[in-house]
């Protein structure tokens, strides 16, 4: 009797989840196909509105971000195109079409950033084409491997030195990658793209002295925001203020 009540309870929860998720997902699919039709008719603004509608339903998709990037390329809005391609790359960094269009957009930049720097951990453990989820899974597997090795060593009565050698190698690998991963996640929220070419000022004021020019498509660090202005940092360390509507987080 008790089991039956528990079973019915689980069934109800599953039905609620199904009822809650399914219509939004179907609606997103419908919007996606509508947007593609509008895109093919050449109405890129209309397509963008529909793609935006999918994002507003609370879903993300590399395909939607990619198509939005294409719309902006067609509209000649290079900064926003690069922004959406970068967002798509975070979800699906190995997609060939996406990489091709991202490179195409970058090649059209009038002033590509030439001073991109990676820190020590990024350079040592830079894993291109791997998503955060995949890195997380790899790290979990490594940790599982280390703990399993400990267990096997105990059962098979390995000599302490032999066990320690393997565990030490895996632990070093694990610790460095955890460090690298945390560093990557830490900088993720602060990455932004310059949407259109603008003068970067010393102070958050229209009349302030210009420090340097930020070109559309540049990838910069988003440091802080103050009354309609954003403090950005170039990869080579120069910082300055840009109007908020000219820069957006990836």
């Amino acid at each position: 009797m008790k089991e039956r009540i528990i079973f019915r309870g689980w069934l109800l929860v599953l039905l609620m989840l199904f009822a809650g998720c399914q219509p939004s997902s179907q609606n997103s699919m419908k919007l996606f196909y509508q947007a593609n039709t509008v895109y093919k008719s050449g109405d890129y603004d209309g397509a963008l509105k529909l793609y935006q509608g999918i994002i507003e339903t609370g879903f993300v998709s590399a395909a939607v971000y990619y198509n939005m990037g294409n719309c902006y390329i067609k509209k000649n809005d290079l900064g926003r195109a690069i922004l959406w391609y970068e967002r798509a790359l975070r979800i699906n960094p190995r997609d060939g079409d996406l990489l091709a269009n991202w490179k195409y957009a970058k090649s059209r930049m009038k002033n590509p950033e030439v001073f991109e720097k990676k820190n020590f951990a990024e350079r040592l453990f830079y894993l291109p084409g791997i998503t955060d989820d995949e890195i997380f899974i790899i790290l979990c597997l490594v940790l599982s491997g280390i703990s399993a090795l400990v267990l096997i060593g105990l059962y098979l009565q390995w000599r302490f030195q032999k066990t320690f050698f393997f565990i030490a190698i895996l632990s070093v690998f694990f610790i460095f990658h955890v460090f690298s991963f945390c560093n990557k996640l830490g900088t993720y929220d602060n990455q932004a793209v310059v949407l259109s070419t603008a003068e970067v000022k010393y102070e958050p004021e229209e009349n302030a002295t210009t420090y340097f020019t930020a070109y559309e498509g540049w990838k910069v660090r988003f440091l802080k925001e103050s009354s309609g202005w954003v403090k950005i940092q170039r990869p080579d360390g120069l910082t300055g203020w840009l109007p908020r509507d000219l820069v957006d987080r990836i």
Partner: protein
């Protein structure tokens, strides 16, 4: 002496202040710089409170035909002949939007619990003289416009109300303004959903007379084409600019004295106010392109076009290039048309180079005759939909006669992809560069901000792994302790040995083997107690187990049962008594109960 003087000065100030408190008399009035204002100009409204110590800003009621903006307060304090007076003024600027007679209503203000009211003020707003050519102004009749909206207008004009899909039509947006000064005019904007639009060109400015009023007209021109069939609602177009309101009072003094506007120009100040003007909407019916009579070579050109083709040179050797130059001119959207591409088996062809030159689209394609049998370059056709005649038209140019001669020895034609046994690449292939087409399937949709560590599958896998690891590790620890800790090992094994002993005893009981039954019964009991207390079980008797169990707090009832089991066993072993089946069953149950009790106590 100096001290006396300072005391006297202080006394005078104190007396003056005292006098001032008695001299204050509160009054309130409203006044304007000028009661006569020209439409498009502004005047100041000053609300003055005299004698009050503290007055907050006085709000202004809405005034018909005028907009207002608060400029700020002004305070004056004066002591004349010992009379202290303080005046606080609140200054508003009034912008005239309409010609006519308007009234600033009586304004009430409460100071120290008493209400004061100003007198109503009448303001005459006169229509501004329009800069119209006198001759035209007279013929067009007297102006009837009296509002600012009639002096600034935006119109949206399209040459036709019915067009075909992809047909390009000019759109003219006109900004009319007369009798007002405007600045910072922005380009107009309108919703471009379902259509393509070119950028606005440099605006043109003309003058026009409407209803007897002269207007400056700014023309913004663009081209649009619809990408969808059906009803297209164009507009409203929206334009933003600033109106410059001339302050009516400024420079007025100079004009009165000198009777001239020269100083007026120097002294006049302007107030900028942003405004937005909207045009009307236009309904355009967009027809789909008919399927009937659509030629095979039609590739989307809509409008009126001309097509020309030249082939040069006309005398070549086999392997020499001939350039086919195709030129399309017309009033349609040249950017969207696809140029014809020449293909023929007798020629090696290359991808054309396409460029835009003004209102022409030019394609240059290199073709190479592959044999001396070639006598002509075949005709090339270009099809378009003519929106005037409402039918498809095809313009064909050619064929172009050419003379192809054999190459000199050693200059044989070696085109890539032909029947040469040893092909050599003579020209580097130029490949196009553009974006890859959009994704047509949505197969990676997932909730936003949902990393893997937030999924239940991940935590299920982690939990299973942790449980398994803990189980195996616990087994390892138990096995290790069983090997090294005898006391633990005996205690650990005790329940299992009891179960085995009871099973064997039961079997003997069923066989009615009394001797073996009691032997196993006692052995099970003594082994269990020996394991629990880590003492040798061989020599245990009731006398030896009693103090052990008593110390552990085992109750008397259990001790009595143990004693009974030992006595029954001794009777069988030493007195050769044969208890009946019932007694054996009782002793068996007694042992089971005792061990259950000992499990709880020990």
């Amino acid at each position: 002496m100096r001290k006396i003087r300072s005391i006297l000065v202080s006394a005078i100030f104190v007396l003056a202040a005292c006098a001032a408190t008695f001299a204050e008399d509160i009054s309130f009035k409203a006044e304007v710089d000028s009661n006569q204002v020209t439409l498009g100009n502004s005047t100041h409204l000053i609300l003055t409170v005299n004698g009050a110590k503290k007055v907050d800003q006085i709000p202004l009621p809405s005034i018909e035909g005028m907009d207002s903006r608060y400029l700020g307060p002004q305070t004056q304090v004066s002591i004349v002949n010992g009379n202290y007076s303080s005046t606080k003024s609140f200054i508003y600027v009034l912008f005239s939007n309409k010609a006519g007679k308007f009234t600033v209503p009586a304004i009430a203000v409460t100071i120290d619990g008493k209400e004061y009211k100003s007198d109503p003020i009448e303001i005459m707003v006169e229509d501004a003289p329009a800069p119209a050519p006198p001759s035209e102004a007279k013929t067009s009749g007297a102006p009837s416009s009296v509002s600012l909206q009639d002096k600034i207008m935006l119109t949206l004009e399209a040459p036709k109300s019915e067009i075909y899909m992809h047909e390009q039509i000019p759109i003219n947006i006109k900004l009319y303004f007369g009798g007002v000064n405007i600045s910072d005019v922005q380009f107009p904007s309108f919703d471009t959903t379902g259509l393509t639009k070119t950028d606005f060109g440099e605006p043109e400015q003309t003058q026009q007379v409407l209803n007897g009023m002269g207007f400056n007209v700014v023309h913004f021109k663009t081209l649009i084409s619809s990408t969808r069939a059906g009803e297209l609602i164009l507009g409203p177009a929206q334009l933003q600019a600033n109106i410059l309101y001339k302050n009516q009072n400024q420079g007025g003094g100079a004009q009165n004295i000198f009777g001239t506007d020269i100083f007026d120009n120097f002294l006049t100040s302007y107030e900028r106010r942003p405004f937005t003007v909207n045009s009307q909407q236009i309904k355009i019916n967009v027809l789909p392109l008919p399927d009937e009579g659509k030629p095979g070579s039609f590739s989307g050109a809509v409008g009126k076009y001309d097509f020309d083709v030249t082939a040069t040179p006309v005398e070549v050797k086999v392997g020499d290039p001939i350039t086919l130059r195709m030129k399309v001119t017309g009033d349609g959207d040249l950017k969207t048309i696809t140029m014809p591409v020449f293909t023929d088996a007798s020629f090696k062809t290359y991808d054309p180079q396409i460029k835009d030159e003004g209102n022409a689209k030019i394609s240059e394609q290199v073709v190479i005759p592959t044999s001396t049998d070639v006598k002509e370059v075949p005709a090339v056709s270009f099809s378009y939909f003519d929106t005037e005649s409402k039918q498809y038209k095809t313009i064909t140019k050619g064929p172009f006669a050419v003379t192809v001669t054999a190459p000199n020895p050693g200059e044989e034609f070696k085109a890539v992809g032909f029947d040469s046994a040893n092909p050599s690449v003579t020209a580097k292939e130029e490949v196009g560069k553009d974006i890859v087409f959009i994704k047509e399937h949505l197969d990676d949709l997932k909730p936003k901000g949902y990393p893997i560590y937030k999924t239940w599958e991940f935590w299920l896998a982690v939990s299973i792994y942790i449980i398994l690891w803990s189980v195996f590790f616990s087994i390892y620890l138990i096995r290790k302790k069983l090997k090294t800790d005898t006391r633990f090992a005996r205690k650990f094994k005790a329940p299992r040995q009891v179960r085995q002993g009871l099973d064997t005893a039961k079997a003997y009981m069923l066989d009615n083997n009394t001797k073996e039954f009691y032997s196993i019964l006692v052995k099970t009991l003594t082994e269990y107690i020996g394991n629990q207390f880590h003492v040798p079980s061989g020599g245990l008797s009731y006398d030896t187990v009693y103090p052990l169990l008593k110390n552990k707090g085992v109750d008397e009832e259990a001790l009595e049962s143990i004693k009974s089991i030992f006595e029954s066993a001794d009777m069988v072993r030493f007195a050769s008594l044969r208890p009946d089946e019932k007694n054996m069953k009782n002793d068996f149950d007694r042992l089971k109960t005792v061990i259950e009790r000992l499990e709880k106590s020990l």
